[in-house]
Symmetry: C2
Subunit: 439 residues, 2 copies
């Protein structure tokens, strides 16, 4: 049996998972691909570090060039992360005739176009299933299974850390800071949680998803992002009262005129929407297509073996392409011109929570301003004083929660700025988008 020779860039969590799967599933992999798979070179920072996997010492190098320059390596698996240096390595690997499988969302969200162009020129495979939603095979589903359909909407829970935090806040009525601290202790959140809690990680994945769903070239900079740090236990409590769950969603929609909305933000979703039941560290991607209707893909978004499973699915695909001489078979120059909608023009329902003086005329003032800005109101809850369920209110204060009908973001912003300046309004605490459409 012929051997396919693999080089790894990186042997951290995911790289170790990949090596384990290659060893443990060797027999089935042989059967399914017709080849034996051998790891012949592994670039790591410290070649003497003790590792959770048995590999001959000779395969290790601390010089990643030795992987991408090695003439015997046929497939480079990039699981080291990083931006500029890693980009150069991937380009060199492709130019040296190697196929590349990567899990590097940060890089793809910024430099995807450049990398795919090199892969197309070289007629080499560049695959990245693991870069979006871990083990969930959403990239292949969108690029292949749904290729004949017109996808109009993708909404995803794409970050396990924030979903864990929001789920815990919802289950326990706890506040953001407490749950974050707990998640950090348990290892579910990093010491510097910025990339997760500010939504940047989800935004990178959303850019990649929007690119493949709409055959476009959406990058991280195109995504309008807000994180979950302002979501409080009170917002979650009101969401429950109103029949919603709060999730950090990556949302990408395409209108018939070709304009693309692409944004990441906390979102109220109705409890009968399939995304509402996705809790803990799980990820899920909801897809709407003109023929497909509604579909959802659910699974683990991170972790050694789940992510390795996605990487290895790509490796098998590359090997099958090698076997049939069809590497680069999906590649196409079918990209549509990018047409990103200004986030100020995005229309959605919204939730507003504010603290006001508990005096006559307050609501009248608020609703007058909303009306002037073409914001119509679907429901209002007002709770005054501690006796009526507003724990945070002082004597003489009232909390007001509004859910609007669909409204242009710019109008909503103008209205809430004006409301915030009313003498009787103490502070507009939070504005959160509301998505509709359950089953």
């Amino acid at each position: 049996m012929e051997t396919i020779k693999v080089g790894l860039l990186g042997l951290g969590t995911v790289g170790t998972g990949v090596a384990k799967m290659i060893f443990d599933n060797q027999e089935e992999l042989n059967k399914k691909t017709g080849y034996a798979i051998e790891i012949i070179k592994v670039a790591v920072k410290n070649i003497n570090k003790k590792r959770d996997i048995e590999l001959p010492q000779a395969v290790f190098t601390d010089n990643p060039q030795e992987v991408v320059e090695n003439p015997d390596v046929q497939i480079v698996v990039e699981v080291m992360g990083g931006l500029e240096d890693t980009k150069d390595l991937i380009i060199k690997a492709l130019q040296n005739g190697k196929h590349v499988v990567t899990a590097n969302k940060d890089l793809l969200a910024v430099s995807g176009q450049e990398l795919f162009e090199v892969a197309d020129e070289q007629k080499k495979d560049l695959m990245y299933e693991a870069a979006v939603a871990g083990a969930i095979p959403i990239v292949r589903a969108v690029k292949e299974s749904l290729a004949a359909d017109e996808i109009t909407e993708v909404m995803g829970i794409l970050n396990g850390t924030t979903n864990y935090i929001l789920s815990k806040m919802s289950q326990e009525g706890a506040d953001f800071a407490d749950v974050l601290a707990e998640a950090q202790e348990l290892g579910y959140a990093e010491a510097d949680p910025t990339s997760d809690v500010e939504g940047y990680d989800a935004a990178r994945k959303t850019a990649i998803l929007a690119s493949i769903a709409f055959s476009s070239r959406v990058t991280f900079d195109d995504v309008s992002v807000s994180g979950i740090t302002k979501i409080s236990a009170r917002d979650i409590s009101y969401a429950k009262d109103l029949g919603y769950s709060i999730k950090l969603l990556g949302v990408a929609k395409r209108e018939d005129n070709g304009q693309i909305e692409v944004r990441v933000h906390p979102t109220f979703i109705p409890n009968d929407h399939p995304l509402a039941a996705v809790n803990g560290v799980y990820n899920a991607v909801f897809v709407k297509g003109k023929a497909l209707g509604d579909a959802m893909f659910y699974g683990r978004g991170a972790g050694e073996l789940p992510t390795a499973s996605a990487v290895m699915g790509d490796v098998v695909e590359v090997i099958r392409n090698i076997r049939s001489g069809s590497n680069g078979r999906i590649g196409c120059t079918c990209y549509n011109e990018k047409n990103i909608k200004d986030v100020n023009d995005v229309v959605s329902k919204s939730y507003i929570r504010l603290l006001a003086k508990d005096e006559p005329g307050v609501l009248a003032g608020i609703t007058r301003i909303l009306g002037e800005h073409h914001v119509s109101v679907e429901s209002i809850i007002q709770r005054g004083g501690q006796s009526s369920g507003c724990d945070e209110c002082e004597q003489g204060e009232a909390e007001v929660v509004l859910v609007t009908h669909a409204v242009r973001h710019q109008d909503l912003k103008a209205a809430t700025d004006e409301i915030n300046s009313l003498a009787k309004v103490i502070q507009v605490y939070n504005i959160v988008r509301v998505e509709e459409g359950g089953n």
Copy 2:
């Protein structure tokens, strides 16, 4: 631009959807495949029937041989259904050098092996994404994305009609016969609902899923099947009290020794299991893999355009293979020997509902028999007379509901047969399997 020539066998609901997608998405399909797609021959029963789609009269024929013998047809899309005659047509198409995309679960569940062997010999594509769970791209996910993993379990809600009926029964507390009649009026159930409500349709799809998940050749005859006709409003009510939903599941599991369980039956699943939230006509497939962990795929299981979306995903795949000269690229002779577990040896928790005389010693008699057959009990509910929530009980009768711990099916059957023969037991009404594992 070169043209790919397609022949359709059948122009019913799905066939019409396929033709619509080819017309409506022509431009995107050209970009993604590099070819124009033309339907040049369509076999129908009545060539004069008025249709919901504009096709030149010359493409119609009432002789399906004219499709599979037509030298210009490159891809045959089989959406006519049927068994022996259709099998012969597909084999002839493959032998004539055509690729085949089919939605025919009935045929694949019985004769899949024979058809795949012909396709392999001829190095032609034979694709069937639409045969299982309609628009949900589960076939490609299992065959490609999860190819490197070891799948241990697949559980699916694979029949929209029965899921609609069970959902309605649950929402409205209604009984099976009433909801079935309503579903028939609405067109969600057929005049002869046997194939759906007895579980045969789900069993065909389960056989196909088990085959691809376990690289085996599971056929319809291997599946142990029971339908939903015995599920009553009372069973659903008890399920709710116990924290479960009742779903008709297709279950396929593989043990480490290679034995495969494959069965279709109503099932109690915990409310925090992702399958529990799948309601109405939606389908979903839950997959457990050693590396993957838990994943779920959710979407529409039927309908003109959703099913056509799956067929067209396959057509695009075939065209990409034609472009790269790699048809038959996934084909492998990687089948494991089939080793089906006797259903009597299957171990699971179970729910038992029975009516007994409300007399001392009844429960003792029941639990004694259970103990003798190694059946241990997790929980018992007993409701006597109308005053304590047993609407169906006469004076002096009590309803007893038990949930067992994991038990061998054969032991459970022996125990319940013996219980049913007790003088104080009026009737064992229902025995339903219980699956565990929420999130």
